[in-house]
Every structure is written in C-alpha cells, then in structure tokens.
Symmetry: C2
Subunit: 213 residues, 2 copies
C-alpha cells in the first residue's frame, strides 16, 4: 500500500475511469520491483495490483519500457530532492558532502524499486527527455556541492572529476551493499554498517579533494 505523489489522488471506486492511473501504476511498479526484482516486473502483474485490465498500462506508457522509464524518472526526482535537503541542512561543505552521500545511499535503499531501474539502460529509454532532465538535475545538485568545496577549500580542484568520483563511490556502495555482509562473513572480517563506511569514505574524499592538484 503506497501513497502516490502529492497530486490529489482521485480514487473513484465504482468509476470506469480510474482517476490517476499513471501514478498508481508507477507506484505499483516500484513496489513490485522492490519486492521481487526487476526480472519479476510484468505489465500484467502491475495491472493486477492496480485493479485494471492487463492492457491498461500500455495505454498510458506505450510499453513496459515506457513505464519503467517513468519509474526511473521519479527515482531521479526523489534523489535530487534528497540531495537538496541534505545540502540545505548544513553550511560546511565537508558536512554537506557527507550528508549528501548518506542521503544518496539512503534514497537508493529506501526506493529500491526505483533505483534498480535508474541506471539499467536496457530497462528504460536513456534518451527519454524527462528522464534525462531528472537525471541531470540530480547531478547538478552534486556538482554545486563540489563547487562549494572548490571555492572554500581548494581552488585547483577539478570539480567534474571529483563529482564523478563521489557519485561513482556512492553508486558502487549501493551495488555492493547486499554483498557486504556476505563478504565480511566469508573473510571473517567485521561487518561495518553503511553509514560508517560513508563517513570514512567522505574523510578519504576530503583528504584527496583538499590536496588534489
């Protein structure tokens, strides 16, 4: 049971028209993927969960890929919002970077259904305009944060490279997160919770950011 977006959800029970079927379908898709993985996603199962006929989703989104593209777009919007809030919550750019990283991973783990689609080029349409706009929006938030680090800590910092590295590390951390407990167990090492890793990672970053040429 997921609440849809902020738009007024006119659920009209007995009505032929659904009210706001597209956003209900997006939410149902994200739930389904979160529960059973992207491979278990199916238009018919989504339609079933939304209580509509099997072909209704295709009417709004054209195809399975179209629906997943919409899910990915919403995911990037969530991410941009989470980064904005993290950056607003403190003035120190170091702390901003740390909170942003934490927010990135938290968002990915909180919306696993969205995140699973966001970087899977075969599942969505990488050229879809709303998707590209949403993705760039999130990236620009990060870029601004790194620019503040450059302005206040190291004018020689290559903003683009640093931003790519920060994003890549967080993205990699999300990819590895399910495996981390297993790996720690197999190698008889202590398992570190993700937030602790992020904190240490940020310290590493800062060391490199401040001294980078």
């Amino acid at each position: 049971m997921t609440d849809t977006t902020t738009t007024p959800t006119n659920e009209r029970p007995g009505s032929y028209h659904h009210g706001d079927l597209p956003s209900v379908l997006i939410a149902a898709s994200a739930d389904l993927i979160a529960e059973r993985g992207p491979h278990a996603f199916s238009l018919r199962e989504v339609a079933r969960r939304a209580g509509v006929s099997h072909a209704a989703p295709a009417h709004h989104f054209g195809s399975a890929r179209g629906l997943l593209t919409a899910v990915a777009t919403e995911g990037f919007e969530f991410l941009e919002r989470a980064l904005s809030e993290a950056y607003e919550s403190d003035d120190d750019p170091r702390e901003q970077l740390r909170r942003g990283g934490s927010a990135y991973v938290a968002t990915a783990l909180r919306y696993p259904g969205h995140y699973a689609v966001m970087f899977a080029d075969e599942l969505h349409d990488p050229d879809d305009e709303p998707l590209v706009i949403a993705g760039c929006g999130a990236y620009e938030r990060l870029l601004e944060c790194v620019e503040r680090i450059r302005d206040q800590l190291n004018p020689d910092l290559d903003v683009e490279t640093a931003a790519t590295m920060a994003w890549a590390t967080m993205a990699g951390l999300v990819v590895l997160s399910p495996s981390l407990p297993n790996v720690a167990e197999q190698n008889e090492l202590t398992f570190r919770p993700i937030d602790e890793l992020i904190e240490r990672f940020t310290a590493f970053f800062m060391e490199g950011f401040v001294h980078a040429r």
Copy 2:
C-alpha cells in the same frame, strides 16, 4: 577415431551429443546479454544460438537462474585473473592499485554480459557455492593489494574499509560509464575517458590512504 581425451572441447558436428554444451551455453548467454541486455535473455534464445532444443539448457543448469549463476561465476573468475595479472605487472603498490582498477573496469566492459549478472542478486543464486568462492577469490586479490599498501605506506590504514571503497568506486564507475558521455554533453563539460578518471581516482585514493588515521 573418437579421441577420448579428457579435455571436453570436442565439437562433434553430426553427433547427437554436443561435446561441451554447458560452456557453449554459458558463452551464448553472455553474448546474448551483452548484445541485448539481461531482460532479453531467454533460455530458448540461448538454446537456439547453441543449435539445440529449447529444453536442453535446463537439463544442464536446472533453470534460467542456474545458467545465469554459472555466467556470473565465470565473470568473477575472469575478474580474479585480471586482477592477478595487473598486480604481478608491477612492484609499486600504488601502481598496482591503479592497474588493478583499470583492469577491473576493463574486464567489466570487455565482458558486459558476465558483469551485468555478477551483482544482480535477482538474476543469479547468491548462495551458490562456486559463485561465492569465485567472488571471494576476486575480493581477496584486492585485499592483498591494499594490505601491501598498508605495509609499505601507512600501518594505520583500515584495510577492509579501503578495499571496500576501492571496489565500490570501480563498480560505481562501471555503472555510470554509459551515462558519462551523456552527462558531460548535457552539462557542457568535457568528457574524460575512463582510464583518465581511474588515474585521477587512484591519486585521490592514495592521498586518503596515506593520510588516513
């Protein structure tokens, strides 16, 4: 006539028995996924490419998931071999780390069909023993490299965290690699080739590794 050598690479054209169907199926699966993505993978298409009936793959691997697990296992074996070779090619642990990172990304991009499955828990069986062994093997190579860095450069280095960070960054870089050109174009920035990024990343790492408490 029929050479009964234990090596199973005997393609016997007119034969009923295929010779070495399992490895042919693994290769066909990797090719198919590399060409058309994991969602386009199907046992029947793989069987078609291998020239066998639609149910032959299931006989050897049990299910689609079983076949993909074998693909992932082979991918980790490739990765471990690539890391080993990279580490053997130089004595300086800094240079080893750089070459290892380069080898990681190169392997992922060279075997995209394998890599796409290796970290997708819903596509393979995470508890499959050969898979776990292969995955841990690759991780141990990296761990050894970071241990050498600790021994020679910074005895206080937390090996586990550093290794996780290195792996996460490379994994994230692979995830982002298809998007990087788009992002650079959208934001009117210069696109940096991946090897250049890796080089800069390694410099960042070292700064953090050497100074980390």
